[in-house]
């Protein structure tokens, strides 16, 4: 089955003329038709475009001039990244009918690499959430247990890869939105260093934290997709003009002599014992492979979440002010005046979590509270960043759990604060702007995936991926797939 293959396996089949891009695209589209009514990963399927792109890739292979390893590979995109001529909803009523007039830079790069875009993926509204339950349209299901959430906010992107509904996908990560769903769905999800990948055409949530990254069926696929999207973009002044290494070339280098830090503050009360056992076993595996481990301290970890829930809502309240019902998006008719139009439009267009965060951010930035909340949070952010800087003087990577627990049941977490606590181990990485990956780290006794997080120095995705690949090769957790029938 072509849909069961990884990107690098599929690319090999294309080159050996054992399969064509059109065959692969059709196989995925058929599987989406059969299975996605159960998984609900896709917001929009772009079958006609995908088949046209696949036909163009067929022609390149026939003429003996394929573009690169992503040529003809069927991918899908989180619905927060703008796609020219294809509606981009952010899973929000306010953008339900928004059709962007341009492509995000990462989408342009994938198309230039010859990728076939199968469609757009469900998410928590405006990337605010940890379960896709905040999507205004529907909740995506976890392929390992359809009664459970896939994580979020990039839940559709994670579930699509886990259920073989795309060869790889793009998500975004502001506080854990790639790594947490990758953990819940048992796949690889990489958040690159802030500035490594262009944010041009990424609908903004919290601009100082947002970053685009890949989901893959294995570490090699994540490296291939990162390679395609990384690099400086003149259209995003926060993307950094530093060299992009050949990620695949360094993947198999092993971990002999590598220094691994284990942060004491991540092994706290509330951490699922099965998750803790899996992470500790992973450290042993890496030691067996020749790595050296030591305990490190990240003393401000417990304050990261609180700082984040000031900073991210503050930035969101500013970014989301653009949804005013004037230039694009929803406008609710019948308003008495301009202010009434804003109120009606935003009242009907935003869901509860988005409203909550806009209010929280507006409150934290308001006169009288600015220093106590926003100013304080920015200073705590400095301390979180310094914690990592000190740790990385002694170690090359940090290994930790991605989440305190495994995928939870739909409807189980109604209190917003309980939902936020899911991201306690991923948020500090965003505050510090560092790269982090979640890879399959084993399974619980009931068969749910456990995520292993590997955090690296700024712009050192290569080492993060090398450690991830060494662990993956030694354990082969990634070969296990959920049992799914249409």
């Amino acid at each position: 089955m072509l849909t069961g293959l990884s990107v690098h396996e599929l690319a090999g089949r294309f080159r050996r003329k054992e399969a064509t891009p059109t065959q692969a695209a059709r196989a995925y589209l058929d599987r989406i038709t059969a299975l996605d009514p159960k998984i609900k990963a896709y917001m929009t399927v772009t079958a006609d475009r995908a088949l046209a792109q696949a036909a163009a890739a067929d022609a390149r292979f026939q003429s003996g001039r394929p573009l690169g390893l992503l040529d003809g590979i069927p991918l899908a995109i989180k619905d927060v990244l703008c796609t020219r001529g294809i509606r981009t909803t952010c899973s929000s009523r306010i953008l339900e009918n928004f059709v962007p007039p341009y492509d995000a830079t990462v989408v342009t790069k994938l198309l230039d690499a010859g990728a076939v875009i199968l469609g757009k993926l469900n998410m928590d509204e405006f990337a605010m959430g940890s379960s896709t339950e905040n999507s205004a349209f529907f909740t995506t299901r976890n392929p390992w247990d359809l009664a459970r959430v896939p994580g979020g906010s990039s839940g559709g992107a994670a579930a699509a890869v886990a259920a073989d509904l795309a060869a790889a996908t793009l998500g975004t990560d502001t506080g854990g939105s790639i790594r947490q769903p990758a953990a819940f769905c048992g796949r690889v999800g990489l958040k690159p260093t802030y500035g490594r990948v262009s944010r041009y055409g990424l609908v903004a949530f919290a601009s100082s934290l947002d970053q685009v990254g890949p989901f893959g069926k294995d570490v090699r696929d994540a490296a291939l997709v990162l390679q395609a999207i990384a690099g400086h973009d003149p259209m995003d002044s926060t993307s950094v003009d530093v060299g992009v290494p050949d990620y695949s070339a360094e993947l198999e280098g092993g971990v002999k002599g590598l220094r691994i830090g284990i942060p004491a503050e991540y092994f706290i009360e509330g951490l699922d014992p099965e998750v803790e056992a899996a992470v500790r076993a992973a450290v042993e595996t890496l030691r067996d492979l020749g790595a050296e481990s030591q305990s490190v301290s990240l003393p401000h970890t417990e304050y990261g979440l609180a700082a984040y829930y000031v900073i991210a809502p503050a930035e969101a309240s500013s970014n989301l002010a653009r949804y005013d019902g004037v230039k694009y998006g929803l406008r609710v008719p019948g308003a008495r005046d301009l202010i009434d139009m804003y109120s009606r439009t935003r009242g009907a267009g935003f869901g509860a979590e988005v409203k909550r965060r806009v209010m929280l951010g507006t409150y934290a930035l308001s006169a009288g509270y600015y220093d106590a909340y926003y100013g304080k949070a920015l200073r705590v952010r400095t301390l979180v960043q310094r914690d990592f800087q000190r740790a990385f003087e002694r170690v090359d990577v940090i290994v930790a759990p991605t989440t305190p627990g495994v995928a939870f049941k739909m409807g189980e977490r109604e209190d917003p604060l309980q939902m936020y606590l899911n991201d306690v181990f991923t948020i500090p990485v965003n505050l510090a702007g560092l790269p982090g990956v979640s890879i399959p780290g084993g399974f619980t006794q009931t068969g749910l995936p456990v995520g292993l997080q590997i955090i690296g120095k700024a712009f050192d995705e290569a080492t993060v991926l090398r450690v991830a690949r060494a662990y993956e090769a030694a354990t082969a957790w990634h070969e296990r797939k959920p049992e799914l029938t249409a």
């Binding site: 009918n97 928004f98 059709v99 007039p101 341009y102 260093t193 802030y194 100082s208 003149p234 002044s237 926060t238 950094v240 401000h300 417990e302 304050y303 979440l305 609180a306 700082a307 829930y309 000031v310 019902g325 004037v326 230039k327 694009y328 998006g329 929803l330 406008r331 308003a335 005046d337 301009l338 009434d340 139009m341 109120s343 009242g347 409203k355 909550r356 209010m359 929280l360 507006t362 409150y363 308001s366 909340y373 100013g375 304080k376 949070a377 920015l378 200073r379 705590v380 952010r381 400095t382 301390l383 960043q385 209190d415 917003p416 604060l417 936020y420 965003n430 510090a432 702007g433 700024a458």
Partner: protein
Amino acid sequence: MPDPKITLAEVEQVARLADAEKEKMRRELDGILTYIDKLRAVDTEGVPPTSRAVPMVNVMREDETTPSCPREDMLANAPDPVGDLFRVPKIIEE
């Protein structure tokens, strides 16, 4: 009720909500703000603020004219366009 972090008047100031939403939202925001209050325990004396993870000052580029998005493409998403304009409710009192 213990001293609330956020009052109904403040919720009304930052949002215009339907009455039914107000108290639920106030209660949830209060819970989140109480959690955020743990930041007070951190000594930040002399610590500078970090507003972005990768320090950057004044990213410069050449001031060149490049094509921008065609007007008809920009207007295609407008909820109520009139000719080349975005129509909005009247904002000036007679």
